[in-house]
């Protein structure tokens, strides 16, 4: 397979997928060198950088997404207004899980100064934004919560490392 052929295939795969595709998936599917896949991706990213559609690194993979600068037009063309939105309480809960994972429901409730967060957790679980990842080895073996890949996708993060630290936010730890 020549370089241009590879590029076409990868472009078409990424284009037709409805969620991010990882380098690993492409490598194992096409049985090619990781290097050449990475090169193609870099090239594609570059080629699309000034178009209405961008190639974005997200949730550990790559995905074509419309460029943010034409957002208003696209949104009003499709007559789709509000997208994913969260209550402040849900965002706080997600922030706690994202920054401190794995955490228990009790820890989240204590940090937020409320008695119970079970309703919010159920909601986030339903949306596949968080998952139960094991149990804490204490009495009652409470569930430990972590964020999911869907969380990364929803918030446009490539990995949890994209989240700025408190220090970067100008807050003393």
């Amino acid at each position: 397979m020549n370089k241009n052929g590879l590029k076409k295939i990868i472009e078409a795969i990424l284009f037709s997928a409805d969620s991010p595709v990882t380098i690993k998936e492409i490598v194992s599917f096409l049985n090619v060198e990781k290097d050449s896949v990475e090169q193609v991706l870099t090239q594609l990213k570059e080629e699309y950088s000034n178009r209405g559609v961008h190639l974005v690194a997200i949730a550990g993979g790559y995905q074509f997404l419309t460029s943010p600068d034409v957002y208003n037009y696209v949104a009003s063309f499709h007559k789709r207004g509000t997208r994913n939105s969260f209550s402040k309480a849900a965002l706080e809960t997600l922030a706690i899980i994202a920054y401190r994972q794995p955490v228990t429901a009790q820890e989240i409730a204590a940090l937020r100064g409320v008695q119970s967060v079970s309703q919010i957790l159920r909601n986030l679980l339903e949306k596949n934004l968080i998952k139960i990842a094991g149990r804490k080895d204490v009495v009652g073996r409470p569930a430990l919560y972590k964020t999911t890949k869907t969380f990364l996708e929803t918030f446009g993060l490539n990995s949890l490392e994209d989240l700025p630290s408190l220090e970067e936010l100008g807050v003393e730890e």
Binding site: F64, Q115, L125, N128, T150
Partner: protein
């Protein structure tokens, strides 16, 4: 006392008592100290009152904080409780600081979300895969299953609590009932066996009948696919020996 109408604090927009307290402190540029604790307590309670007047559902969490503040206020007035007051203050400050960090982190998420929400993924997907679109199991497979299971249980509980718990009937009871029905009859409609019974009885009867047909105790006749099942005594039916058959069921 402040005129609450001028407060831009949204009464129904707190995520919890820490949020309310933090907004209050910021709004009035107050710090938690023995001098200001009385004022803070007053303002906090006043907002709670407003919330109740507006018939907002105020969670118990808010009252726990109110009583904490009142206790601190009381301690601040008694010289020998000074140390206890300081301890409580430290603890509350720590909680507030931690909470403030979380609000900053939540803001970060909100910024990321905003940016992501400005990008659209492709809406159209050529149908390369199955026509019948299945549920794709992602990382949350366990939860997907758990959720489905809990829905099943809820659904069943609504119509038939017994199946969920331990069934009210045993196969033994049901089979024995079937033997009784056939005692003086040669032919019985399935409906007669389960007449007036609940769903779990029907389920058990149906499977018992299938077993009995297999054992040639009964014969089943159906004129068409969904028509009524007519049951006829078969060669292995013997009312006298029924206990032997029944005992084989759990």
């Amino acid at each position: 006392m402040d005129n609450f109408n001028s407060i831009e604090i949204e009464l129904d927009n707190f995520t919890g008592p820490l949020d309310l307290l933090l907004q209050l402190l910021k709004k009035h540029k107050l710090e938690i100290s023995d001098v200001s604790i009385s004022e803070i307590t007053e303002k906090y309670s006043e907002i709670l009152k407003k919330m109740q007047e507006r018939k907002l559902e105020v969670a118990g969490d808010y009252f726990v904080m109110a009583s904490t503040l009142m206790l601190m206020k009381a301690k601040s007035l008694i010289p020998r409780e000074k140390e206890a007051f300081e301890e409580m203050k430290e603890e509350l400050l720590f909680k507030l600081e931690e909470y403030e960090k979380i609000t900053r982190q939540a803001e970060v998420l909100s910024v990321f979300l905003d940016k992501r929400n400005r990008m659209w993924r492709r809406g159209f997907k050529e149908d390369f895969a199955l026509k019948d679109k299945g549920v794709f199991v992602q990382e949350n497979g366990g939860y997907v299953l758990g959720n489905l299971y809990s829905l099943l249980i809820k659904r069943l509980k609504a119509i038939e609590p017994e199946i969920v718990k331990r069934a009210r009937y045993t196969m033994k009871q049901v089979v024995s009932h079937i033997y009784e029905v056939f005692k003086d009859k040669k032919k019985v409609r399935f409906y007669e066996i389960v007449k007036g019974r609940d769903k779990s009885f029907i389920v058990f009867s149906f499977s018992s009948v299938l077993e009995l047909i297999k054992e040639s105790v009964l014969k089943g006749v159906q004129t068409s696919t969904f028509s009524e099942i007519i049951l006829i005594k078969s060669r292995n039916y013997s009312y006298k020996n029924r206990d032997k058959v029944i005992s084989r069921y759990e």
